[in-house]
């Protein structure tokens, strides 16, 4: 069986490289730790998660899409169950368990225009009365 020969200088160079990389990593970690970068990022991520999970407001009406049901819109914007029904004069018996696209199709409405109306109605809910 052939035994591989390992060059000693190469091993020494590798050991030195590993030592320097390790000490550099530890030094960088300590620097990051001291400057509070990790805590700052953690805080930013937590804020983002909170922002992603909060109840939506008038600033988020652009999220409304044709696949959403009225029930879902009521839920994510925390609207009263009959708010959209009254403000858009919806008489469909399937309300609120009907997607916007199906409602627009059933009632021969222009989908884009209808979504714009819903966005306005939702936005209006958040205006100070």
């Amino acid at each position: 069986m052939n035994k591989r020969e390992i060059s000693k200088p190469l091993v020494i160079v590798l050991c030195i490289a590993i030592f320097f990389s390790f000490s550099f990593s530890v030094r960088e970690y300590m620097r990051i730790h001291r400057s509070n970068i990790i805590a700052m990022y953690r805080q930013q991520i937590t804020q983002k998660i909170i922002r992603n999970h909060g109840t939506l407001t008038e600033k988020n009406v652009d999220l409304i899409s044709s696949w959403m049901t009225f029930e879902y819109i009521n839920r994510i914007f925390a609207l009263p169950a009959d708010y959209l029904k009254n403000s858009l004069a919806i008489s469909d018996v399937q309300y609120p368990r009907i997607p916007i696209s199906r409602y627009a199709k059933n009632h021969k409405l222009d989908e884009t225009q209808f979504i714009a109306q819903i966005k306005m109605a939702v936005g209006a809910y958040f205006l100070p009365h």
Binding site: I49, N52, H53, G54, L56, N60, L63, S65, S66, W67, M68, T69, E71, Y72, R75, I76, R97, P99, S101, R102
Partner: protein, 198 residues
């Protein structure tokens, strides 16, 4: 967002867990449905309090595993009879795929659970060529659990802004595909090395 996906999202909003059950069942059996995107969406719906994340995870994992096992047993039990009936000259081998799947069964089953449209076909083939059931079940359960938890939690973390993720799901599929290739290359190399030793 395309009409195809929109219809499924409306379906999930209307029928919640029943819709998820039907979508997961159909896609693990044969239909190429956008299940990963649906899982991301349901994770987001859970974060908004519209669905329950533990029910979603439980349902998706259990239905996936049970359907995969059903598909496996279907071809394990009846595959050869059906093929013999329709392909009389079949020599008992599923082209060249059989050898590869037999050798690399665990990794192939595991990775195809997480992403890509090949999972149902791998289920049928695994049963047909007689992969050991314990191996199939372990790989299937692990792959489905990791994949489901990943996609549902991604949706849960992104919450109201989950839609920004759906355009990047193909990247995950690509990553899985690359992993699969690396896995094949590794297995092929180690097999070759072992043969050389002998």
């Amino acid at each position: 967002m395309n009409l195809f996906l929109s219809s499924f999202l409306s379906f999930v909003l209307l029928y919640k867990y029943w819709a998820l059950f039907i979508i997961v069942l159909s896609s693990s059996f044969l239909l190429p449905l956008p299940t990963n995107t649906i899982l991301v969406a349901t994770g987001a719906f859970a974060s908004q309090g519209y669905m329950d994340i533990s029910v979603i995870l439980f349902l998706a994992i259990i239905v996936n595993v049970l359907t995969d096992c059903f598909a496996f047993f279907l071809t394990y039990r009846y595959g050869k009879i059906i093929i013999d009936k329709f392909i009389p000259k079949w020599d008992g081998k599923v082209f060249s795929v059989e050898k590869y799947l037999r050798n690399y069964a665990f990794g192939t089953i595991f990775l195809t659970r997480i992403a890509g449209p090949f999972a149902p076909y791998v289920n049928f083939l695994s049963g047909l060529i007689g992969v050991r059931f314990k191996k199939f079940l372990l790989a299937d359960f692990l792959g489905n659990t990791i994949g489901t938890i990943f996609f549902v939690s991604a949706g849960y973390v992104l919450g109201n802004y989950w839609e920004i993720f759906i355009d990047d799901i193909w990247l995950i599929t690509l990553a899985i595909f690359v992993l699969l290739l690396i896995y094949f290359a590794y297995k092929f190399y180690s097999e070759k090395k072992e043969n050389q030793k002998k």
